[in-house]
């Protein structure tokens, strides 16, 4: 497999996704976790763009969908984090555990 631009982009996308997953799993700061999720979304965007050379323009259309959803998600997510912070004065996801029985 030749290391052309397309393949490089796919590798970068996979790498960024992996970084995002690690960030989500390992970090405890809600803002960082949130940024990692954004990183994963953008890694997917990059992957889709890279695939568009072989799959056609539909892949790039999906990118816009994801951008729109990500924007909405960012607005809601940040609002939740701000509310949580105002209430607890912290953003450590290990100590915010009210979502249980």
């Amino acid at each position: 497999m030749a290391l052309d631009h397309g393949n490089l982009a796919l590798l970068l996308g996979a790498f960024l996704f992996g970084v995002g997953v690690c960030g989500v799993l390992l970090r405890r700061n809600a803002i960082i976790v949130f940024m990692s999720i954004e990183l994963m979304l953008n890694a997917v965007n990059l992957t889709l763009v890279a695939f568009s050379t072989s799959l056609g323009i539909e892949a790039q259309v999906f990118v816009f969908f994801i951008l729109a959803v990500a924007a909405a998600e960012a607005a809601v997510g940040l609002a939740i984090i701000i509310s949580v912070f105002r209430h607890y004065e912290l953003v450590d996801i290990d100590r915010v555990n009210l979502l249980k029985w």
Binding site: V24, L25, R28, I93, N97, L98, L99, K100
Partner: protein, 673 residues
């Protein structure tokens, strides 16, 4: 099984078409509906129910009277069926709502609407102050309707509708003052005890249908002597089951216990339902299907024995009761026993004859006792006393205050005691004579003893209530008044009937004009049964079991009755009684009789309590342990499983994310690899 055509009997004599047959039923039903609506719409209106109720009954009586006269003039002979509509038609079963006009149903309708009308008029005065005035007349009209359905029904199922309907009305009227728990329970007791009897009625109906393929009286009874074997098991079981129904409805051993408690209802109800009409439905049924009973000598003997036993048992209890209505209630049970004795020995006409005269004099006695209770109640009300107006120990000397009631009650007492020439003499004498002449010496002696007891307890009732000193308490006596005319006029009419009612059937043996009108009248209905009995060799003798003819024993019976009345009167009239509140409970034999031979207590021990124990076991073991246990066990399992699963919900976002990623990797790995 014999297939029988559903067809009306061809008229033999003159042509007769029943006059307005449906209106006889519809008038009381309309009265019931109007008054039933009135109980909600014009609650405090006294004049509408007071007019509609009696008018419905009197209107029905008028039509019945027209039919009665029309029948006598035309004399059509056999039964006339008026078909209304088909109720059930399924395979071999065809049940039409048809009305049967014949001599027996016309006579019964005359009694029901005639005595019923008088009691409706009386009720206008008796219930005047009751808040449930409209509801009362609604029930009373409804009762007349169902009672007419009972006697007019031309088949077992239609009769059963009336049979159940009068039971319902009886229940509603016993528990009329339902705020009183004891009264409401008395209504339930009557209803439940009657269910036992109705079971018998239904079983008999099924059994007869299997063997006849029809349930209409006319074809069924006509075919009975050919289809059924004399004394065979089918007819014996069927008639025994029918008699169980009669024992429930007509308060015979062992199902008589509901009738004395039924006195909880208003007194006119006791007169109409629990003395004159409904409780005699059993006697009517036996007379209606007399052929079947004639074919079953075992049942006949049992009916006669149960009748005599009931007559004796109830008469002994009546001698020691203090509640004026209880005395009359046991007296009614006792007289019903007489009627069953009559139909049991095969003297069907004598049973119906006593049914009729008993309707007159017992309605009279109940309405008279109602007048006494009414006057006592008013007097206690005026003086704010709370003594029992029903207790004869609180009465005494009422003759001075209520002369009309006193006089009419004496007529009723002499009539029921069998004093010549009042109604009871002729009917009772015929029953006693039939028991002797048809060859039942033991039952004959019992019936004579009961005649003596009847005279004794009725004289005791009169002495305690109307003679001696007044014991009603301080200041009460000056408030005692004779009842208004609307109440005493019906009583006076009944007193007249109690005098002349027996003259329609004067035995030939007596040195009097031979007026066997009732025998001739009922002959077409009773003839098949008498024919069967004559074929089998049941023939009345002309001498009593210990010798002497009918005239001699009739004379002896009335002499015994008069002697008992006079002796009891003289023995009791100067005795001093304490008022109810100051009296000690009777002891010894008197105590046993006062407590009704402890039959209610016996039933409580052997039936009610074991049943309650059984239901309690069903509740606590089957229901609580088994059913509730399994249902709750399933729910509990789900709850524990849910709790275990809920432990996965840590509430930490990190855990969820980890699991989520692990899951995603797992799924992707599965797909890719």
């Amino acid at each position: 099984m014999v297939a029988l055509q559903h067809a009306a009997t061809a008229a033999e004599g003159g042509a007769f078409a029943p006059i307005l047959p449906t209106l006889i039923l519809l008038l009381p039903l309309a009265g019931a509906l109007i008054n039933g609506a009135g109980a909600f719409l014009w609650k405090d209106n006294r004049s509408i129910p007071g007019l509609v109720g009696p008018a419905a009954a009197i209107g029905a009586f008028g039509i019945v009277l027209a039919n009665f006269i029309g029948w006598i003039q035309a004399d059509p002979g056999g039964a006339i069926i008026v078909p209304l509509y088909t109720w059930m038609a399924s395979g071999g079963l065809h049940v039409g709502v048809d009305l049967q006009f014949d001599q027996l149903s016309l006579l019964m309708m005359m009694i029901i609407t005639g005595v019923g009308s008088l009691i409706h008029v009386y009720s206008v005065g008796y219930m005047r102050a009751d808040p449930g005035y409209s509801r009362y007349f609604s029930y009373l009209n409804l009762f007349i309707f169902f009672m007419l359905v009972l006697v007019l029904g031309s088949s077992f199922p239609v009769m059963f509708v009336g049979w159940e309907g009068v039971g319902l009305c009886s229940y509603l009227l016993i528990g009329f003052w339902y705020e009183n728990k004891e009264f409401a329970s008395a209504g339930k007791k009557a209803f439940i005890v009657n269910r036992v009897g109705d079971f018998g009625f239904l079983v008999a109906m099924f059994l007869l249908f299997v063997h006849f393929g029809t349930l209409d009286f006319v074809p069924l009874l006509a075919a009975a002597p050919e289809v059924l074997i004399f004394g065979g098991s089918v007819v014996t079981v069927a008639t025994l089951m029918l008699f169980l129904g009669c024992a429930g409805k007509s308060a015979q051993i062992p199902l008589y216990v509901w009738l004395p408690d039924a006195m909880a209802g208003p007194t006119p109800v006791s007169a109409l339902i629990h003395a004159a009409t409904m409780v005699t439905a059993g006697v009517y049924l036996v007379a209606r299907v007399g052929v079947l009973f004639a074919l079953a000598p075992v049942t006949q003997a049992l009916v006669a024995a149960v009748g005599a036993g009931t007559a004796l048992l109830a008469a002994t209890i009546a001698t020691r009761q203090y509640d004026i209505k209880k005395v009359l209630a046991y007296s009614t049970v006792s007289q019903l026993g007489y009627m069953f004795l009559a139909v049991g020995v095969g003297a069907f006409t004598a049973g119906i004859f006593h049914l009729m005269t008993h309707a007159f004099f017992k309605a009279l006695l109940f309405l008279g006792s109602g007048a006494v209770i009414h006057a006592m109640h008013e007097a206690y009300h005026a003086t704010h006393a709370h003594d029992d107006p029903n207790d004869m120990r609180n009465h005494g000397g009422l003759r001075r205050f209520m002369p009309i009631t006193w006089a009419t009650m004496w007529i009723g007492t002499l009539a029921i005691s069998g004093v010549f020439p009042l109604a009871g003499f002729f009917s009772k004498d015929e029953i006693v004579w039939s028991a002797g002449s048809y060859g039942y010496p033991l039952l004959w002696i019992v019936s004579l003893v009961v005649a003596v007891l009847t005279a004794a307890y009725m004289t005791r009732l009169m002495v305690l209530t109307f003679h001696g000193e007044n014991r009603s308490g301080k200041g009460v006596a000056e408030h005692l008044r004779e009842v208004p005319a609307v109440m005493w006029i019906p009583v006076a009419v009944l007193a007249l009937l109690s005098v002349v009612g027996g003259w329609i059937n004067i035995p030939a043996a007596l040195p009097l004009p031979d007026v066997a009108w009732l025998h001739h009248w009922l002959e077409p209905v009773m003839e098949p049964a008498r024919h069967v009995m004559a074929q089998q060799g049941f023939q009345a003798a002309h001498v009593s079991p210990i010798g002497g003819g009918e005239a001699l024993w009739a004379g002896l019976a009335t002499a015994i009755a008069i002697a008992t009345v006079v002796l009891t009167f003289r023995a009791l009239v100067h005795k001093r009684y304490a008022a109810a509140a100051d009296s000690a409970a009777p002891t010894g034999l008197g105590g046993i009789l006062y407590n009704k031979w402890y039959v209610d207590e016996l039933y409580d021990r052997i039936i009610v309590r074991p049943l309650i124990a059984l239901w309690r076991a069903c509740w606590q073991v089957v229901d609580v342990r088994l059913i509730d246990g399994s249902v709750n066990g399933l729910a509990g399992t789900g709850k524990i499983a849910g709790w275990a699963m809920s432990l996965l919900q840590t509430g930490r976002v990190a855990t969820y994310l980890t699991v989520f990623v692990a899951g995603a990797i797992l799924i992707l790995g599965t797909i890719l690899l």
